[in-house]
């Protein structure tokens, strides 16, 4: 089954709006794309479109938080973080305000819109801020739980939401706790830590590897910050080798977070699968993933490399 994350997100916001009267939703002229339009239809008085003004909506969101509301602030991730950077740094993170920053069309998910519209740096940008929580739900089912969890969590948070449909890999009754990784396949030869759409590719890679007698453990690291260090340690103590995979640059993202932790705590063979310090291209979702090397094949290759390096 495939679900477009943004659709699941839009519906989840409506459910949240029914349960929690303090939730307000802000958008920057992309409500039809972010699907916050669904919230607007049900709760017009709690929906605010501030036009093409990403720095303005971050600051306005911070103001709502000062007044005790729970703002979900939405725009394309690249523009929201690009134009809202200093506002996020000061008015949200330094001020420690309860603002939920939702970055849309992440990774390669706006396809043929091409490089300007393919945010491959947003995890790195948000992860760097003190106090920021960074989440990338793995599929359309997990996103509903993430929206609820974000509303309950107090403090600055960033969530990635994709545009095009991606495979569903979790079930309705699977647990979702911010900061707690989910091991979705156990194995003993190599740990594959992935987030977002790359989890489904990691599972495909693990399946292929098992055909060659290699047992890969797959972890859905839906929370990139705070990183579930315990889960990582527990897994790598067993496997002794790790591969990360993300729809993001290899600089400063999930792989960066895991590498920073392991290099200082328990150095071991590691490879990072992600976009190699480059911009995207205009193409279909799959074409871009091929060009950027965001494939199961790359994960398989990396897994074999780190296993070899163990000896």
């Amino acid at each position: 089954m495939m679900i477009a994350p943004r659709e699941a997100y839009g519906k989840a916001l409506v459910e949240l709006g029914k349960e929690n009267k303090d939730v307000v939703v802000l958008d920057a002229d992309v409500a039809k794309a972010s699907m916050t339009i669904l919230f607007k239809e049900v709760f017009p008085e709690r929906f605010f479109d501030l036009g093409i003004a990403e720095s303005d909506i971050i600051g306005t969101g911070a103001g709502f938080a000062v007044a005790g509301k729970i703002p979900f602030v939405n725009a394309y991730a690249n523009f929201l973080l690009g134009n809202g950077w200093d506002q996020i740094r000061i008015s949200v993170c330094y001020a420690n305000k309860n603002v939920k920053i939702i970055g849309h069309n992440i990774g390669a998910s706006s396809g043929k819109d091409g490089p300007t519209h393919l945010p491959l740096e947003d995890i790195a940008l948000t992860r760097a801020f003190p106090g920021m929580t960074v989440i990338e739900p793995v599929d359309g089912i997990e996103i509903k739980k993430a929206v609820k969890a974000l509303a309950q969590h107090v403090g600055p948070a960033y969530m990635r939401v994709g545009r095009l449909p991606i495979p569903v890999v979790t079930k309705e009754d699977d647990e979702f706790i911010i900061g707690k990784a989910n091991t979705i396949r156990s194995g003993s030869d190599v740990t594959i830590i992935a987030c977002g759409v790359m989890v489904s590719k990691a599972l495909a890679a693990a399946e292929a590897l098992s055909g060659e007698g290699i047992n890969a453990e797959v972890i859905n690291m839906h929370t990139i910050k705070p990183l579930d260090k315990e889960a990582i340690l527990k897994s790598v103590e067993k496997t002794g080798a790790v591969v990360t995979a993300e729809e993001h640059t290899v600089i400063g993202g999930l792989g960066g977070a895991v590498a920073e932790f392991l290099a200082c705590t328990k150095p071991l063979p590691m490879k990072i699968v992600g976009s190699q310090d480059r911009f995207g291209v205009c193409g279909s979702y799959e074409e871009i993933h091929q060009v950027l090397g965001l494939t199961s094949e790359k994960i398989i290759e990396a897994a074999k490399d780190v296993i070899k390096a163990k000896k």
Binding site: D49, D56, N83, H117, V291
Partner: protein, 275 residues
């Protein structure tokens, strides 16, 4: 109207007609793009390139060229279309719009496309860039001009207003900003989403020479650019009242055509209307 002007405007009209057709062909083929905001800008671009821009298609990076920046980068099919009409690109390339190969990416790229001087697609950034080239021209003592086209929704971005003050402060009489004032953005009309209020008064009060025109009236467009060149005390803004989707009956003033591709059938109807 002088005879030479009349002839120039006839040529510009012919260019605009081809541009409109090519914009529709591109977006139809790519099944994507932003036809509405291309068609509102077409007549202005046709007059600008046919009558005013000093550029050389054989030498796109000619150092003495005038600059044009499409700050509302999503309308790049209109820019490609005028670059085809002026010999920077070939008509065979229409099929490459939004494709992985070729020179017509979904948003402007100065690294890929001849005749494009700045990559764009993130709204709000173009006027600052125009100011930079205009300041450089002053430094070099050349008479080069910088034109920049902005969307009206784009004016929500704060950077635009920072850049407006910069241009006025440095008396950049070689900067001409054109606002494609079609009154629609993505989520709806500007008055629904966030109003611009008295737009002319805003530019005026920021120290710009402001001209308000019908952006589909060729004589008015022609005269506005001439007035901008003649005005020596500072930057000029041309607020061009336009119609989003202009020239295709079912697209005109319809916000749904902001980002939507015409089907094969719609393309045929539109091409017929334009012939």
């Amino acid at each position: 109207m002088s005879q030479s002007m009349e002839q120039a405007l006839q040529e510009a009209k012919a260019v605009a007609k081809n541009m409109r057709k090519n914009i529709l062909v591109m977006t139809n083929r790519a099944k994507g793009g932003h036809p509405g905001g291309c068609l509102s800008a077409t007549d202005i671009l046709a007059v600008l390139y046919k009558c005013y821009m000093r550029v050389d298609p054989k030498n796109p990076r000619w150092p003495g060229r005038d600059y044009f920046f499409l700050s509302k980068g999503h309308a790049v099919p209109a820019h490609y279309a005028v670059l085809i009409e002026t010999g920077f690109l070939s008509k065979d390339e229409l099929k490459d719009f939004r494709e992985i190969e070729g020179r017509l990416p979904a948003y402007p790229s100065c690294e890929i496309t001849p005749g494009i001087d700045m990559s764009s697609g993130s709204l709000g950034q173009g006027l600052s860039v125009a100011n930079g080239t205009a300041l450089a021209a002053k430094l070099n003592g050349t008479d080069q001009r910088a034109y920049v086209m902005l969307g009206d929704g784009e004016l929500h971005e704060g950077q635009v207003w920072e850049a407006m003050m910069t241009a006025a402060h440095f008396k950049l009489n070689n900067v001409c900003a054109i606002v494609d004032y079609n009154k629609l953005q993505l989520d709806g009309s500007l008055d629904e989403v966030k109003t611009l209020g008295d737009l002319r008064a805003k530019w005026d009060s920021f120290g710009w020479h402001t001209i308000e025109i019908d952006g589909h009236d060729y004589e008015q467009i022609y005269n506005a650019f001439a007035e901008a060149i003649a005005f020596k005390d500072g930057p000029t803004a041309i607020i061009a009242h336009t119609i989003k989707g202009k020239g295709v009956s079912f697209m005109e003033d319809e916000v749904g055509w902001h980002a939507a591709a015409p089907s094969d059938e719609q393309l045929q109807i539109a091409l017929k209307e334009l012939s």
